[in-house]
Symmetry: C2
Subunit: 585 residues, 2 copies
Amino acid sequence: LDYQHVQVPFEITLWIMLASLAKIGFHLYNKLPSVVPESCLLIFVGLIMGGIIYGLNDRSPPVMDSDIFFLYLLPPIVLDAGYFMPSRPFFENIGTILLYAVVGTIWNVFGIGFSLYGICQVKAFQLQDVSLLHNLLFGSLIAAVDPVAVLAVFEEIHVNEKLHILVFGESLLNDAVTVVLYKLFRSFCEMPTIKSVDVFAGVGKFFVVGLGGVLVGLSFGFTAAFTTRFTKDIRVIEPLFVFLYSYLSYLTAEMFHLSGIVAIISCAMGMKRYVEANISLKSHTTVKYFMKMWSSVSDTLIFIFLGVSTIGENHEWNWPYICFTVIFCLIWRALGVLVLTFFVNRFHVNTITSKDQFIIAYGGLRGAICFSLVFLLPDFHRKKLFIAATTVVILFTVFIQGMTIRPLVDLLAVKRKRESAPTVGEQIHIRFLDHLLAGIEDISGHWGQYYWKDKLEYFNSKYLQKILLREYDQPKSSIVLLYEKLERKHAIELAQAGQLGHGPAHPSFLCSAFLCSSSDRTVITDQKLDDTPNPNVLDNIQEILARNLYRIRRMGPAYNRHTLPGDSEPTEQAKEILILRHKSL
Amino acid sequence: LDYQHVQVPFEITLWIMLASLAKIGFHLYNKLPSVVPESCLLIFVGLIMGGIIYGLNDRSPPVMDSDIFFLYLLPPIVLDAGYFMPSRPFFENIGTILLYAVVGTIWNVFGIGFSLYGICQVKAFQLQDVSLLHNLLFGSLIAAVDPVAVLAVFEEIHVNEKLHILVFGESLLNDAVTVVLYKLFRSFCEMPTIKSVDVFAGVGKFFVVGLGGVLVGLSFGFTAAFTTRFTKDIRVIEPLFVFLYSYLSYLTAEMFHLSGIVAIISCAMGMKRYVEANISLKSHTTVKYFMKMWSSVSDTLIFIFLGVSTIGENHEWNWPYICFTVIFCLIWRALGVLVLTFFVNRFHVNTITSKDQFIIAYGGLRGAICFSLVFLLPDFHRKKLFIAATTVVILFTVFIQGMTIRPLVDLLAVKRKRESAPTVGEQIHIRFLDHLLAGIEDISGHWGQYYWKDKLEYFNSKYLQKILLREYDQPKSSIVLLYEKLERKHAIELAQAGQLGHGPAHPSFLCSAFLCSSSDRTVITDQKLDDTPNPNVLDNIQEILARNLYRIRRMGPAYNRHTLPGDSEPTEQAKEILILRHKSL
């Protein structure tokens, strides 16, 4: 037995296998996932496993390595989030999102940091040795809302698109702020004295880290799009470039101490439309499917590891500090949302309702990012207290808030996501309005979002498309695009109907279809499947197929990390088909 | 700048990126790949890169790590090979393949080992210090035909299926023999005396290593199939199981010193039909596409690393030893093929022609497996000589034989692969004959391949399908299966036709299609794309689509690692459609 030799890949494979099997296990019981969010269940599995490891070895199970988390587990999730980000609502609300992400996070950091410092001054709590800087450092890591946790919960509760993008966008973009503040306070902790220059340099860094991330991401994204211009002859490696370039953008940003999350999101959003146009349909299916698969596994592993790492002797328990951390996290976030939304609503016609505000405040879940950051802290005598407090905050938000948010959304009757896609009429109307508003803005000299959008679209069609698209001959009219879309939809649905064959009701249906067209049967068995065609025979077959194939229309949810659009329930389809066939007979 | 932090993933990503870009580069010049095999070009790129690294650093560039090769680069290629292995020709020729793989490899090992020992006895060559055991050890690593190199060359020359499977099957299955002999001789080298017991134990090991590999592979394969029974609710992670279980089978086999290659091939062949039936069509596309992508990248990396590792100061040059190694490799392989084929032909009606024998002998390419094995040798004073000889043999076979085999195949007019798939009539006939022959074998009491195949099929439908398939209700009649196949083919072809939209000729064609059905246009723009359907409107659309869609039939090569079946050339399709439309108008 030579275990040493294969240990690393073997254990990685086993962990991934465990995560996948756990996922299958939950979905076997249909009722479980509808009550408890998957993230809670996975943390629970992790807790049990950690307990087993602790019981067997009699020492703390290994904690999640921060390097592994930031280099290998986080990127797939963020890439998936960026690639499937609905760009219209995102850019429509970018101002609000940035306000929440930047000002809101700073507010939370300082609010939590200062008020915890106040608690530390109470003598009875025996916490006087925790300095203000340490409290601020702790505040900087505990304040950030976690995209992984938010996604895991919000994609199950289906709130309206605007609310979703506000919380989710904030959780993604606050990374730049978190990175800067965390690194700033950590270096302050190690400095003997802090000059005011350092503080100003810190403020300047915000812009460098955020905008630098965007720049790195966009440049890699456009390079990726440019590369896929030349992959026509080797379709198989097309999907690779999407993953390679996005990952490189993340790593490059991390290397220069910029925001990796912002970089990979910019990269994904920048490349998407060009890459989609360049690569083949099968490559695109692979890209989408693999991204979902990868992020889903990463996310499962993160929650399991979170559970495993909770068990052990890394904790120092101090009731007041931990309780007040949870309370301050809730209070400061609620206050921040209220104040910021008050300003936002003054400048917008389409205001954020008080119900939405409650969900935004309540949906501020903490997760694995805080956890990894707290383990990255330099060693000092109260580190274990910080670890304990972080763990409690994460478990509290994921379990208590995560499990109650769905009933609350039901109870408050928060506006849900629209279940149907916009009609063609609506789409045309929206586009028309966009052009109109851009014109009005141009005339009135007010450079609002429509003006910039129009300029960007012009720049895109004038320069970017010519460079980045392989077959950029003439701009296609929208009616042609619509036709292509319909054509593709139709074909894909035919393929789905073809899959029905595995359903129980299907064979009999097919047999009956064959029996009523017994004259055609001989035609089929005689013709060569893949040979040079006999047009009559083929027409016959097409007729049979057209008669028996049925078009099934359904709407999947717009963004869901665990399902792909087009995943269908065969039994339902089979039923629908049977009913239709009955009618037609 | 914090390069240390991201170094490992960054460099891995860059290497993969380099490999992919190199691949794109070759395919940009259409003439190059048709003259020189890709493997040669990649080695050439590697040589240049190695030269640059050597020139800049003034020391040998890093050689390919054997662990990385065996644990990470080889499995994807072998998995791809096993998964897409045409099972009928493989099992029909399994006897011949095993004869070549086992007896042929042993013949080569001892032939090369003993004759090189003979050369070492010539005093003028100054090689008396190389013992017989060392020569045999060297023989054991240099004798094995390499699957990666064979695939890279044979998938470009399109010889007939039987010839292809004989060479390729041998290169895969000789792994068990190579592993045993290599480890045997290596341990003999370290032993003070060799007892006859050890030799017998070595012979016994053949069976353990080979059959053990098959057992490990099949058990993982069936577990994978069983697991995919339960993935109905989470389609996104389905493809993962195919990769995880195959990789685990490889690692487990390696852990127990069994043949990993044999294990992963058994796993892939064992799971394929059940997994395909259980998972969704999109998952299956992802599995196929990703496998091709992965193996293609691995294979590119291997050849580039091979080139890089060639440069440097690892070599000890000795003209006679190196030249005679090349000559003996050629002679013993030719002799072995001649003798073994003589026996094979005596027992078969469908004999192997002398042209085929020549190609089998000439196609015995060596590659990265030999290279990794020679670096794994324990340190002794002549290791550098062995490395030099191995490098020369690999470069000789890949460059000289690899580049001349295509002209030779043309010159000898070797029977090519049949370009068209068998017709339905042929398929039915073949199946009928199979049943007939199984019956005849049963009556005559001769237990040949048809008898066993029949038994296996019975066992499969009686037990395995019931356990491993999700929706095993009743056995489907072949006419239903045929219908499903047609249905799916049709739908996929529609999707391909839909992709034409990107071709230059397409927009005008579409516009004309729209103009002649101007009454339908309003219908389309009014209907909701994804909403509850209005049957009339939908029927209208289906009619338009059916009128404009054209069925394109083409045959891709049956096995090719670089393309997927169904990759099409859009301009050609567009032309065909235009012609057809002209006719119909």
